[in-house]
């Protein structure tokens, strides 16, 4: 117990060299003071003193004024890796680090000269193995009655370990500082401010780095010691204060992206905030991600725009990886086939619903994709499978996209619905066929007219007149059909067209009356020719063969026996020469009397009355489909 007490005393006193220490360890009887020889430790020394000296936790050494190790305890020997005998053969100068030697010698000199009685020094020694030993050294001196230096007492405390820890700490601190000084991220440390009930009511800044000053637009001077809610009240409204409070109370790290309004300018910046508990407070890093966020938003907007364009074009558009996997498909292409995105995205293009109606088509698409993947631009007409297993013809394209070194990175498949075009094509073909039919029919008709006319007329002159008159009549019907609705003609116009070549100088010699009635193409042709024959007959033999006769044309519509609407036309000639029935029926008469029943299923009734020709025609209205 006594030993323990003494050790403790040494450790404690070693630093300060109080009188008690001197009493215990530096027992140098003043009678021996002039005796410079050493060691003073003899058999007569106090057993307690010896014990403490040998077992002290600190090193204790007696050193000559020249620096020789006179006597050392075990600890000193351990400290430097020498045996006591080895060490006592050396001076302290021999094992002192050169950088610390001068300071040490200067201090020693001052002691020798009596200007000081001791000194403290943190210095480096070399261990026997060569490494540095850091020692906290306290030196005191013993003088004789005349004040002459007899020897020095050194207490050595090995602080190498502490020094290493300190050094590591310093390095870490330096690194931390360098990081905080140069980091683009703001960094701040705040401690909690609590009320009487230990409730956190605010936080106070302890630290802020330069980037933190930039982001908060405050100087370090403004912030350190200031209260968070007082300086930046928006922290409460944005929920940041509560978030920080929770970090301190729970110890859980918190991260969030906040659109933070700057107090001065009102400009909003995006911050990624990360807060972690530190003691009774928190550390927070502020990353300004405004640019990143803007870019992200621009990208999203741009993507939205592109998607909106793709979804609103008429064409079917998609995106393929070079191996044929479908990455994208626009809405029209999905709607056309009645499928969902998830039905096709990620599938091989040729396995998708558009093509799987026919293995040959799938093989063709597969082949086209592999050629496009090799850089070829493909384009051909093909059909896709639409809703309800319909076939939609499309103008199909595969456009490869290349990177800087010419590799195909993507393939853009697109298709335009060419149903309309195909329809127009077939309509054109039909029209051409129809036209050819009509032309041939017309030629056949001309041939027939020529043939009849030749049969009847005896002179070339008469033939020319009849023949061209009949051709004109057909042409007039044709014009009328083209000029009106193409497939129908007003009966009044028809009459006018056919009689006008013969009556124009005497317009009052024809009277027309009747409601507006529209005739279909067949009726127009057939009845137009009849009107022409009636008119030429009137000019040759009837009401228009003299200067005074007139023709009265009237028409009406009535309900026929079969329930269909019938048209009734009356042609009456008055004021012409006396009429007698013809001896021989010419082509004109046959046409007038028979063509209606033949072509239209109508009837003609001709009466050769003495006062003038009476002709009555009845024919059903055509179905105008």
């Amino acid at each position: 117990m006594a030993v323990m007490t003494c050790r403790h005393a040494v450790a404690d006193l070693g630093m300060r060299f109080p009188d008690s220490f001197k009493r215990l360890f530096l027992r140098m009887p003043s009678s021996n003071a002039h005796n410079v020889s050493f060691p003073p430790m003899t058999d007569g020394d106090d057993i307690l003193y010896r014990s403490v000296f040998e077992h002290a936790a600190v090193g204790i050494a007696y050193i000559s004024p020249e620096g020789k190790w006179l006597r050392i305890n075990e600890r000193v020997a351990q400290m430097f890796g020498y045996t006591p005998a080895e060490l006592e053969a050396l001076s302290f100068q021999d094992i002192t680090h050169p950088e610390d030697l001068e300071t040490n010698l200067d201090l020693l000199e001052e002691v020798r000269e009596g200007r000081r009685d001791g000194y403290k020094l943190e210095k480096r020694y070399f261990h026997k193995t060569g490494h540095i030993v850091w020692v906290n050294l306290s030196v005191s001196c013993i003088r004789d009655a005349e004040g002459k230096l007899l020897y020095l007492i050194s207490v050595l405390d090995d602080v190498t370990e502490r020094k290493q820890i300190q050094q590591a700490l310093d390095e870490s601190e330096a690194r931390f500082r360098a990081y905080q000084q140069t980091s683009p991220d703001g960094f701040m440390i705040l401690h909690s401010l609590r009320d009487d009930t230990n409730e956190i009511i605010d936080f106070v800044w302890d630290f802020v780095n330069p980037a933190g000053e930039v982001i908060t637009q405050r100087t370090k001077k403004d912030l350190i010691g200031a209260r968070l809610l007082e300086s930046m009240p928006t922290h409460r409204r944005l929920g940041l204060f509560d978030a920080y409070k929770k970090v301190v109370e729970t110890g859980e790290t918190w991260q969030s992206e906040v659109n933070y309004p700057r107090q001065r300018t009102g400009e909003k910046i995006w911050l990624r905030i990360t807060a972690a508990k530190v003691d009774d407070g928190f550390a927070v890093s502020l990353q300004d991600i405004t640019n990143h966020k803007d870019a992200e938003m621009r990208l999203r907007e741009s993507q939205d725009r592109q998607r909106s364009i793709l979804d609103n074009v008429v064409a079917f558009v998609g995106l393929l990886a070079p191996d044929g996997v479908l990455l994208e498909a626009n809405t029209p292409s999905l709607v056309a086939a009645g499928i969902q995105r998830q039905d096709v995205i990620g599938k091989k293009f040729w396995d998708c619903a558009w093509w799987n109606y026919d293995p040959d088509v799938q093989a063709r698409i597969r082949d086209a994709v592999s050629r496009a993947a090799a850089g070829e631009h493909m384009r051909f007409d093909v059909k896709i499978c639409g809703i309800g297993n319909t076939r939609i013809p499309i103008d199909f394209q595969l456009a490869p996209c290349f990177d800087d070194i010419g590799r195909v990175t993507q393939i853009i498949p697109s298709g335009i619905d060419i149903t309309e075009r195909k329809l127009a094509e077939s309509q054109r073909e039909m029209l051409v066929r129809e036209l050819s039919h009509r032309v041939k029919n017309s030629l056949a008709m001309v041939q027939a007219i020529a043939s009849h006319t030749m049969h009847v007329e005896s002179s070339i002159e008469a033939f020319r007149e009849s023949f061209s008159g009949r051709l004109r009549a057909i042409a007039a019907c044709h014009d009328l059909l083209v000029a009106t609705t193409r497939t129908s003609a007003n009966i009044a116009q028809l009459v006018n067209e056919q009689v006008s070549p013969y009556t124009s100088p005497q317009a009052d010699r024809v009277t027309m009356s009747g409601p507006p009635i529209i005739l279909g193409p067949e009726s127009s042709y057939a009845f137009g020719l009849i009107l022409h024959e009636l008119a030429t007959n009137a000019v040759k033999y009837g009401a228009w063969s003299n200067e005074v006769g007139s023709v009265y044309v009237s028409w009406s519509a009535q309900l026929g026996k079969d329930g269909r609407t019938e048209i009734v036309v009356n042609w009456r000639e008055r004021g012409g020469p006396k009429v007698s029935p013809p001896e021989r029926k010419g082509f004109g008469s046959v046409l007038i009397e028979e063509s209606l029943s033949h072509s239209l299923g109508g009837q003609a009734h001709i009466e050769y009355a003495e006062e003038g020709l009476n002709a009555r025609f009845q024919f059903p209205v055509e179905d105008m489909a």
Binding site: R433, E434, S436, H437, R438, K440, N441, L443, A444, M445, V446, Q447, A448, I449, S451, H452, H455, E522, A526, L529, F587, V590, L591, E594, S595, H598, S599, G601
Partner: protein, 119 residues
């Protein structure tokens, strides 16, 4: 006895011309008629030994008449302004005469159709 021919042609002018020319060659012409119904009626009413049949009668194909003729074993030929109507397979061996018609040629062919002892 005259050889009798049924002429089925919707256009009166052409029909009448055929009739006139055929009659000039000594044929007895039934019709001309311009519709399927009139033709079928004429077939019932007259003994004929051949027929000339316009394929297109106001937009209606005359194939029912052709079928009736075939059934009766009466030889016939088609007249056509164009190739809009696809001839049914059963009539693929029937002669088709394009318009405008060469009447002497048509009559020659018609003559070949008729069996010598036909009428």
């Amino acid at each position: 006895m005259k050889r009798s021919v049924l002429v089925v042609e919707d256009d009166f002018l052409i029909a009448y011309d055929l009739k006139t020319q055929m009659e000039g060659e000594g044929y007895d012409v039934s019709g001309p008629v311009g519709s399927v119904e009139a033709a079928l009626k004429a077939l019932e009413a007259h003994d004929i030994c051949s027929a000339v049949l316009d394929i297109d009668l106001h937009g209606t194909a005359s194939f029912p008449v052709a079928e009736a003729l075939k059934e009766k074993g009466i030889p016939f030929m088609f007249l056509s302004g164009n190739c809009a109507w696809q001839l049914p397979r059963e009539f693929s061996d029937v002669l088709v005469h394009g318009k405008p018609v060469s009447v002497p040629k048509l009559l020659g062919e018609l003559n070949d159709l008729c069996e010598p002892d036909c009428c």
